[in-house]
Symmetry: C4
Subunit: 255 residues, 4 copies
């Protein structure tokens, strides 16, 4: 089994921008992009499968299973958009490269020239109005993103961006694509979902692409996600204890 | 060396169901399926070898070695069955995918359309009568499994299923197969073999496939397994100390 | 770069036995086989290179470097022998398979039908006269090895054999080869080189293959090895601290 | 994506020597070679990309991203030189082999017959005048390097050289190339950048290749690097917490 994309349909898109929101610090990207998909009624058109996800299956509350994957949605607006969300970052260092490379193949297929990656940036404190920090493939784009509300300080506090949000831009740069990483400031505990940081990122994207999105449901939506995440976390505690086999304490043989 | 299946014979099977029982929480799957194989006198017809098992060999009490592998047995009854047991889960995340993919190739070979995976679900307490919790590829099958005794609550307590029991269903779903994971409730310490949970799973399978199996030997059988597992565990403690080489404390050079 | 064998020469050998002695518990195999190579004046004819060794180079006392590898020596006697020694076990689970598979390719090249693997078996205590415990591919060979001094108890205390000594036999069994693992009882601390266990193994091999080897130098030889191993260990302590890069505390960027 | 080299130009070089300086103990190699590149005005002609670097992107102070890579510079002098620097050692054991093999392909392309690797050797104490310890592929070269100031003691204190500095020489030896590893004595804490050790290495290289380099800026240059490294380190602390996904505490699912 290799990393592969399965298409549900191949929509006609005009110069689309890909916007990535996988789980990460504060779940900022995952929340923001999920909310946009929901409110804009974006349509799923492709799924990415890979052996570089955890070897597990998710069981939904209705007892139906679903495997880990990345999903692609499209939205046709003033500017066509492709949203990317998923249940998990890849596993293993090489897995990040395999998955990002495959995402870039989809970009090529749809002639994507610009990528936005969304995440959180841990600052250790809670801010009333978190900023959206930016990092660019090409500095010529700074003005555009600045006007939409992205902050580029004199000395960028971001040192490195780890995971798909960072690597996807690095590999896009090699292909002469353009792009921006938008990181909402958040307290930085991975387990705490941060609605305020997500809201700030959504506002930037609304301005950038002239999107009309009602934000009143965001807090309620996040509340539900938090409850769900918490319950998943408790459930998986049982499962995860020592399940990954180890040579130490090898006790599974039955003659 | 790649992951591969070696056939002892290729039996004629009519619309068989594959039932998986590898080691895991409470060893529920391993015990239940081993017992069924024994009592139904199922016949081994194939073995799966893989570089994604521990690099070790098991030494049987009679001093004969045997390598880690997964074994396939068939049983011809009202419904033909393929049983899958083994000594170990795979190692490394990618190993789970390689092994599960190879199992699905065997399924294709025998036209298997339905997979049942058996395991334990840790609940932290001991129950007098553990339930068998279910998770389905396709909700249309719920009635059938419910009638055989599988529990599907309003809010499924299973959050995720880790390992071959989970991933095999996830990959089977992509191939439009049907299937169910049956997890016997157990206290959830991997080292404690749970006969009661295994018994409940066996009863479900007996009802589902109209199997006649004498359960009176189960406790005795499990008692022996426990003794054996405990002795293996003690023996491997010696072997496992620092045997996996590490760059730290590299001391093996002899000029 | 792949795992490969480079031949210095291809000697004519008559039905040779391969005898493996890589580093491991008590360094029993490494010491015993190195000593035999030295005293029998066995001749190196091949080297195995692999990306599944540590990414490091050894610096000899004379300042010359030498990379990690496995070496093959041959000895023509009443029974032709191929000795296998090396500086290190492989790294990563899959690495063991790649290396063992390559060793078996050499076996095929020289028509080797029998493999002996030598190691230590940790028993937690020091014995005046350690036994040499055995495990067999095929029980028909028990008499032969027993007569040479290998111990096969009623209940073999060996539960599993980890590493090349174990896996090589497991994979040889799949190819219908014969073979025996000989594990000298030793206290079981990897860092302590055990001359007595090595001596007992050498005696078994002398008897088995009618070898004339003067054992008087063994203690002196081991003394030197121990000093050398200890000095290597101290030196590598400096090198190994945090050298394997980690994402945590990533501090290596220079603009 | 595979490990690959992208050429900016292919300069005409006459019997060049490759000199490697990746991050490591005391950052000796990275500092020394960066300084030489800067002062000799060496010109970048190639970049090496690999999936065996961390899956992250570096954000420069001006908010521009840059992916992890290894860079090659050339300098035409009395002896033509190729300098190799980079942001990071590879990840995963196999990654070291893939990257070193690719570097050797570049060497073949430019007919490089000699490789020098530069690093630090931790001695646990701070010395007023650190020595530059050497290790050689071929002892015939000892005189040449000794005259340039490299120390080869009676009993080389270097036991092993871990990482690209070591493995590159090991693999070069297999190709019958010549070469030397030069390790400046340093206290050995990876986080402490050691200007004195770097200076001693630079002096050796100046003498060896008759280079004119003004050393007065070295301390200032290192001071800036240290500040930068420290700030990067603090920034990445936020990012690195639990970002690498783990099955334990899997909490990222959003329904």
């Amino acid at each position: 089994m290799v990393t592969e994309i399965k298409y549900i349909e191949k929509p006609e898109l005009n110069n689309p921008v890909l916007i990535e929101g996988l789980p990460g610090i504060g779940n900022v990207g995952r929340i923001a992009i999920s909310y946009l998909i929901d409110k804009l009624n974006a349509k799923k058109f492709a799924e990415l499968y890979s052996p570089y996800f955890f070897p597990l299956v998710i069981v939904n509350p209705n007892s139906e299973i679903s495997g880990l994957k990345i999903e692609f949605y499209y939205y046709k607006g003033k500017r066509d958009l492709i949203f990317l969300i998923g249940d998990s970052q890849p596993v293993e260092y090489v897995g990040y490269y395999r998955v990002c490379k495959k995402i870039l193949e989809l970009c090529e297929e749809f002639n994507v020239k610009e990528i936005i990656t969304v995440g959180g940036f841990g600052i250790g404190i809670e801010k009333q109005k978190p900023r959206v920090l930016g990092a660019l493939i090409n500095l010529d784009d700074m003005k555009k993103y600045k006007e939409a509300g992205v902050y580029f300080g004199k000395e960028n506090p971001i040192g490195t961006i780890y995971g798909v949000s960072g690597l996807l831009l690095a590999l896009a740069k090699e292909k002469n694509m353009r792009g921006c990483s938008m990181l909402g400031e958040t307290i930085g505990y991975p387990i705490i979902t941060d609605p305020k940081a997500a809201e700030e990122v959504i506002k930037v994207l609304m301005k950038l692409f002239d999107l009309k999105v009602d934000l009143t449901d965001l807090n309620e939506s996040i509340k539900q996600l938090e409850d769900f995440l918490k319950s998943i976390e408790e459930k998986t505690k049982h499962l995860s204890q020592q399940l990954q086999p180890k040579a130490e304490g090898y006790y599974d043989y039955i003659g």
